[in-house]
Each structure stands twice: as C-alpha cells, then as structure tokens.
Symmetry: C2
Subunit: 287 residues, 2 copies
C-alpha cells in the first residue's frame, strides 16, 4: 500500500507546522489539511496561502476524522494539547509532534492515546529566525535531519507512517531513544543557549567604573551572542522540559570553565595552550 | 607643523602592521618604511607588495633613524621586542603598539624608553580572519575604533603624533586609561572567547552513551563557537597578560550562570522568563 494521508490535522500552523503541510501537499500525498490554532488571523493567512483547506480553533473538533495529526505547538503545550484532543481521535490515527524535548512528551503522550491510536515523537532539526504561517515553505526540511524517538511500545505501522511522512518532506530521518535525544540536545543546543544568555546577562550587568561595557562590543560579540536573541518563552519552556539533562550539561561546562580558570590563575602557559588547542581541534573537526 | 613621518618602522608586518603602513603611505604622510620581522618570506612579500621599502630581521638595527615605531607583534612579545630595541631608538622617536592588552605593556614600555623617546599604548579594534602581510589592506581601520591609552607621564607631542597617525588611517580614536581598557575588553572580548573555548571543550568531551555528540551539531552551534577557532597561542597570551581582569569577568559570568542554573533546578518559570528576557533585551539593545 502506498503512503497517503486522507486528512492531515496540523495543530499550530507556524513555520514548522506550515512547512510540514506544504511539503506533504507538494509531494502529493495528502487529501485535505485542517489547520488548528488559537490565532484566527494566522489560520486565515494559512488558508489564503493554500497551506491548509480548513481551519479550527478547537483541537478536539479539528482532529476529528484525521488519520494523521502533527502537533507543532510550543514544547510546553504539546502534552496539554494532546490531552485536550485525545478523546476525539479516530481509530487508527497517528499522532506525532515537533517538540525539541522528547522524553517527557513521549512517555506522557503514549499514555494519553486511546485504543487504536498511536503516538510517535519527532523533532525536525530545522528553522529560520522567522515564525508564523507566512514564514513557512515547502523545502524547509530538505536535507535537514528529523529525529524520531520510538519506544518499545511504539506501533510499527505508526512509526513507518511518521518516518515516511518526514522522508517525503526531504528530511533525513534518524531514529533515537528519547532520553538519548534529550541528553544530546542538552549538550549541543540547550547548553549553548543557556551559556549565551548567561554571558549576555553577565556582560550586560557588568559595570566598569560606572559605564556599561556593551557600548564597546563589536561584530564578534554580536555574532557570538546572536542566539541570546531567541524567544525567551521558548527557552524557558525548553529549560523546564529538559531540566535534568540540561543541569548535567551546565555542570559539565562549569567544570570545563573552572579548569580553564585554574590554568589562567596559575599562569599555566602550557596548560592554557593545550586547553585552547584541544577546543580548537574539536571545533575545526566539525566543519 | 603638519604631520609627517620621515621614517616609520613597523615591527611585525602582518595584517595589523601591514595595514597601518599601507594606510599611512596612501595618506601621503610617510617618507620611508622599514619592515622588521622574523620571517624573511613575509618581509620579502611585503617589500614586493610595496608595503615597505626596506627590511630588517633585527629590531635593534631596523629602528635606527626611525621617528615612529609601530610594534604589532603578538601581545606577549611586545615588551621583549621593545626591550630589545630600546637602546637603538633615536632621540624624539615615538613608539606605539597594537597589543590587545594594555596595562602591563604601557607600564613596562614607558619605563623602557631612553631619554627623549616616548611610548604611547594603542589598540586598534580591527581584524579579519586572515594574517600576514599579503592579507593587509589600506582601509582596514576605516570607521573602526582605535583605543589609545595615555598615562599621566605621557608626552603630549607623542600622544598627538600617535593620535594623528591613527586618525589618518581612518580610525576613530578613543582615549582611555589602560586598566579601564583591560577591564572592558576582559568583559566584551576575552570572556566570550574563554567561554566559547570552555563550551567547545565541554561539548567535545561530552560522552552520551559512548557517542561523541559533536556529530549532531548544526549551523547554530558552529556559528556560536566560531571564535573558538581563533589562534590558541594568541588567546593563551591574552589570558596570561590580562589575567586579573579576565578572572574577575569569568567570576561574574559564573555567578550569572549559577543563578540561571538555580532557576532551572527550582523550576522557577517566572524567574527563567525574566532571566532570558533581560538577556535578550541587553542583546537587542546593542544592535
């Protein structure tokens, strides 16, 4: 049987959800698409742009009759949103999400599924600095990685369906255990954001003889701290959702910084050169 | 009397020294330029490119007869280089440098000057990712800031000469006490580099169930950590030369990160939103 979604429900028709809808529509594998969200202005724009065919402001109503539901709402809203709609899911419906933290979402959402419905967690590694339906585009996921986090309880057909959908968007699908996903992203994404926010917080608060030093910053500082301009609410939610792995990553970083500080204080010339060279080699190795 | 340098000696004809020479030559305010350095290949290239008129591998010989000397060598070599040449400086010669740490250089180099010669510390805030004479260009300093760090002992004519030279390169000159310069640059430049190196060190060493997580990093991580690809030896030298202010900046940052960690651990939703928003506002305020 070839892959086809009769009715796709996208909850949260922003950059992520809108691009998913556009990509599957372009691939010709979807019948109709209902867009579900709180902002009627955004939904109407999505409708006008042809991203979706119908709109609903009520998840429980909107998902009725859908054979696939993609939940692309802020990470802290995924579980409440799925709880709200679970009772309205039709038999055989596959529910997936795009949240950037997975363990808690997967364990709770699996448990929320009614008989005959299946949840599969996902995290597409893609984005731009823009948001909203108008910012979405069909090729957002092409060549980007999408991590899918099945468990021992995951239904194989549901997993195949979610995997195929992401492959059809042009993404490279990577299966991974949810806890492992969260530990990896704590290191490579959540920690750098925490560090950038803490750095800007510290430098912005620093007072050199009554003068704010930020006025002296140049391009280098601005580039380095660009990620501290991300949405504070989104990062609050990620920090709360991925608390334990993020705390462990912060502790690992703090130990690394403490070691660097020790070498600076000791005037350990060879130790400093070694520390900086090791880091540079790690960095240059990922280019 | 109008500004003119009969004989300019540039010690270290790289991006910084070469661009200084080119800019003053283009401004038509210099008679001859002697380039001094260790690498004959680089000096010959500078000669071939018309950046300099003569070469010398010996600072003590090269500076003879110069009325201005610009020392643009690695920050830890500025003091030894000036010590080596001090006895050969002609009466009235003005010596300046381009080192990115100032207090120690200024206090030691002032003391090294023979009778009738004057030292004025400087720090042009400019650069590219390239180095060497061939990477230099006359407009490197246009519109960029150059910080000059006079002391109570600085000769006014020498200060005027150095200020005028930098103005003629197109830089905006800013006078500042050397210690203040070092505290400001510890915050806005040296701390971010230390943090970036420590972050890459931590993430590169992190082990999630036997796997190196760096393979999962995407553009965001690479952009954020670009400065950890800088020259390890240069940053070793800066860390050693600006030890005290940098340690204080690291401590301020560590306190900021510890506060963020505390809010994450406590699940303090409002406190996290406030922390991230404050940082974002600082960041957006410098754009």
């Amino acid at each position: 049987m070839s892959f086809y979604i009769e009715r796709l429900a996208v909850v949260g028709v922003g950059l992520i959800g809108g691009s998913f809808a556009r990509a599957l529509r372009e691939a010709g594998v979807v019948g109709s698409i209902v867009g579900i969200g709180r902002s009627m202005a955004n939904l109407e724009q999505a409708l006008a742009l042809g991203i979706i065919d119908e709109v609903s402001q009520n998840p429980a109503e909107g998902v009725a009759g859908a054979d696939m539901v993609f939940v692309s709402v802020p990470v802290c809203s995924v579980i409440p949103t799925i709880r709200q709609m679970a009772g309205s899911l039709g038999r055989g419906c596959v529910v997936t999400d795009g949240g950037s933290v997975k363990a808690e979402i997967v364990s709770q959402c699996e448990a929320l599924m009614p008989e005959g419905c299946h949840f599969v967690g996902g995290h597409p590694i893609a984005g731009t600095e823009h948001s909203g339906a108008a910012a979405s585009f069909a090729t957002l996921y092409q060549g980007r990685r999408c991590i899918i986090t099945p468990t021992v309880r995951t239904d194989q057909d549901a997993l195949d369906k979610v995997t195929q959908a992401w492959c059809l968007t042009g993404a490279e699908v990577c299966l991974m255990e949810a806890g492992r996903h969260d530990r990896i992203f704590a290191e490579i994404s959540h920690l750098p954001h925490a560090v950038a926010y803490a750095l800007v917080h510290a430098v912005g608060s620093a007072d050199v003889e009554g003068e704010n030093v930020l006025s002296y910053t140049a391009g280098g500082f601005r580039d380095f701290t660009r990620i501290a301009s991300s949405d504070p609410v989104m990062w609050r939610d990620i920090a709360l959702m991925n608390r334990k792995p993020l705390l462990a990553s912060i502790d690992g970083f703090s130990a690394s910084l403490a070691e660097l500080r020790r070498r600076i204080e000791a005037g350990d010339s060879a130790g400093l050169a070694d520390f900086f060279t090791t880091a540079k080699n790690f960095r240059d190795g990922i280019l």
